[in-house]
Symmetry: C2
C-alpha cells in the first residue's frame, strides 16, 4: 500500500510527538499524549490510536485548553488522596506526575487515591491501570465524558459514556485489565455504523423523543442507553459522582454545556484508587494474591469460549512490537 509505511512503535511515538509539538503542544503534554495514542495504535485499539491526534489538535480551538500546561501535584502528608491540577491541559501528562506520589502512599498505607483535576480527557483509561498494575498495584480509574447517555427509564442524554477501568497485577505477565464504557457501545461505533450506512442493533439507543431507534442519525440526536439497564445506569451515576462531585470537577452534562464550540473534548476530572495487595491478606496469613488469582484465571480459561479481558490487546501488541506498525503518512489536521 503506497500510502502506508512500516514504522517501529518507537518511531510512531516520535512522529506523534513531533506532530503535536509542531502544533503548539509543550514537550510535557505532547510526549504523554504521544505515549497514549501510540499505545492504542500498538494494541490495535485504533479508535484510541493515531486516529485521536486530530482530536487533540482540534481541541486547541477551545480557548480554555492549554497545550503547554504544567500539571502540578498537590499533596498533604496526612492525606492518602494525591491531587494533580492539570491546569486545563490534557489528562495523560497530569497522570504521569501523579503516579509516583500515589504509589508511594499506597505502598505505605495499603490504599490511596489519585484525583486528576481540570483536564481534557479524550484518552482510554486502560493505560493508567495497566501501568499501575505493572508496578504491582490493583488499580481502578473512573472518568466522565460528554452527556450522551440517558439514565435508566429516562429519555434525555445526561451521563457520559463514563468508562471505568480495573487493573490486576500478574507479575511477569501483562496485567489483567478491563476498561469499559457505561453505555452499551462506544459513541464511535454508532458513528461508524452511520458512515457505513448500517442500521443499529436493538437496545443501543433512543431517539430525541425517547423511543427505541435503529437509525444511527436518530440515535446520535437522541441518547445512548446504559449497558445492562438500570445496573449500568447506576454505574454511570457512580462514575459521575466520583469523577465529578467527589473531586469537585465537572459532570458530563456540564462538560457538554461548556463545550460551546462543539469541539467534543470532555473537560473534567479523573478519579483513581490504588491498592497495594501486600496489605490485603489477614495479617499473619500467607499473602499469595497473585498465585490465587492465576488459579481463578485458569478456571475461566478451561471453559471453551472464554478469554480474559485485554487478551486480544496483548496479542496485537506482541505482533506490533515484532513486526512494526503500518501507518498512514501523519497528516496535518
Amino acid at each position: 500500500m503506497s500510502d502506508k509505511q512500516n514504522l517501529s512503535v518507537a518511531e510512531v511515538h516520535e512522529r506523534a510527538l513531533s506532530q503535536l509539538v509542531s502544533k503548539g503542544f509543550s514537550h510535557v503534554q505532547a510526549d504523554a499524549i504521544a505515549a497514549t495514542v501510540t499505545a492504542g495504535e500498538r494494541d490495535g485499539c485504533l479508535s484510541h490510536g493515531l486516529f485521536r491526534i486530530p482530536f487533540y489538535i482540534g481541541a486547541l480551538r477551545n480557548e480554555r485548553v492549554n497545550p503547554k500546561a504544567n500539571p502540578e501535584v498537590i499533596e498533604k502528608a496526612a492525606s492518602s488522596v494525591v491531587h494533580v491540577n492539570g491546569h486545563d491541559g490534557f489528562c495523560p501528562a497530569a497522570l504521569r506526575v501523579g503516579y509516583e506520589p500515589v504509589m508511594a502512599k499506597a505502598k505505605e498505607r495499603g490504599i490511596a487515591a489519585l484525583a486528576i483535576h481540570n483536564v481534557y480527557n479524550i484518552a482510554a483509561l486502560w493505560p493508567e491501570v495497566e501501568f499501575l498494575a505493572q508496578q504491582g498495584f490493583v488499580a481502578f480509574a473512573f472518568t466522565g465524558a460528554n452527556a450522551f447517555v440517558a439514565p435508566a427509564g429516562g429519555t434525555q442524554p445526561l451521563f457520559g459514556t463514563n468508562p471505568m477501568a480495573f487493573g490486576w497485577p500478574r507479575g511477569d505477565k501483562p496485567p489483567l485489565v478491563f476498561d469499559q464504557a457505561s453505555s452499551v457501545c462506544a459513541r464511535g461505533e454508532i458513528q461508524l455504523m452511520k458512515q457505513e450506512g448500517k442500521r443499529l442493533p436493538d437496545g443501543l439507543a433512543i431517539d430525541a423523543d425517547g423511543q427505541p431507534t435503529n437509525d444511527p442519525d436518530a440515535a446520535l440526536a437522541g441518547a445512548q442507553l446504559p449497558f445492562g439497564g438500570h445496573k449500568g445506569s447506576s454505574i454511570a451515576l457512580m462514575i459521575e459522582l466520583l469523577a465529578g462531585a467527589l473531586i469537585g470537577d465537572a459532570f458530563s452534562f456540564e462538560s457538554t454545556e461548556m463545550d460551546v464550540n462543539k469541539i467534543g473534548a470532555p473537560f473534567g476530572g479523573e478519579f483513581l484508587m490504588v491498592i497495594d495487595p501486600s496489605h490485603g491478606a489477614l495479617p499473619g496469613a500467607q499473602a499469595n494474591h497473585q498465585a490465587r488469582a492465576e488459579q481463578l484465571f485458569g478456571k475461566i480459561l478451561e471453559q471453551e469460549g472464554t478469554r480474559l479481558p485485554s487478551e486480544r490487546r496483548y496479542q496485537m501488541r506482541e505482533k506490533s512490537l515484532a513486526e512494526g506498525l503500518w501507518v498512514s503518512e501523519f497528516s496535518d489536521s
Copy 2:
C-alpha cells in the same frame, strides 16, 4: 389475616434476636443478624428479610459455622486496611466491629479499606454502605457468593452472583445506595419463577450444556448469565479478585466446593472501600460534594420515568416505621 400480626420494627428485631439466640447464636452474632433481616423486612426487600432467618439457622448444620464467634479487629497503625477475622461466624457481626476503625482511618487519610475474613455471608450489602454513607462517607462493598454464574462466553458456573454496593452521603436525606448482583437476576427470582410454574425471560440463564434456556429447572442446573454480557462478567471477575484473591479469602467456586452438605451459605470474605469526601476536592477549592451531587440528582429526576436507586426502599421504610410490619408468626425452622 389471622396468621399475621402487626409489630413495630423494634419488636420484629427483638423477636428475630430471641429466635436466633434460642437456636444457639451468641448475642453478638444474633443481634447483628437480627438488624440486617429486620432492615430487609422493613424496607420491603423480603428476600433479605425474615425469610432469611431459616437460612442462618440452617447454616448451623455446617460444622464449621460458629454461631458464637467473636469477630476480631486486626489493624496496624501504618496501614489503612483494617482487617476483621470473623472466625467462621456471620458477616453482620464482623462488619459492626470494623466500622469504627475504618471510619477513623478514612477520616484521617481520606481513603481506607475494610477486609472482612472468614465469614458466612447471606445478607444484602446495602446495609453496610448505607450505614457508612449515613456517617458521611462514600462507600463501596464487594463480596462473592457460590458458583452460579458462567463467565462471558463460557458454559459452566464459576462466578458467584457477586454483588457490589455503593453508598453516597446526602446529609439529612437517606443516602443514595445501590446494591446489585453481577448476574442478570437474583437466584431467588429464578427459584420463585420455578415455584410459580413460570418460564424465564430470555437472556437470564443457560442449561447444563451451555444452551440458552427458559426453563427454571434447566437454569438452576446450568448457569446464570452475567448482566450486560462481557461487561457484567468483568465486574463479577473483579469482585472475585477483590473479595477473594486480594484479601486471601475463598473464591465463589471454592465456597461451593467447601459446601459439601449443600447448605448454601457462601463462605468467604467481603471487601469495602471507604472515602471521606472532605479529602476529595483540590486543596484550596471549595469542597461542596454534597450540593454538587444534589444538582445531578435533580437533573436525573426532572426526566420522567427515572428514579434514584434505593428510592422505593426508603418509601417502604417510611411506611413500615409509621404503620408497623405485618409478619407471620416466627416459625421454628
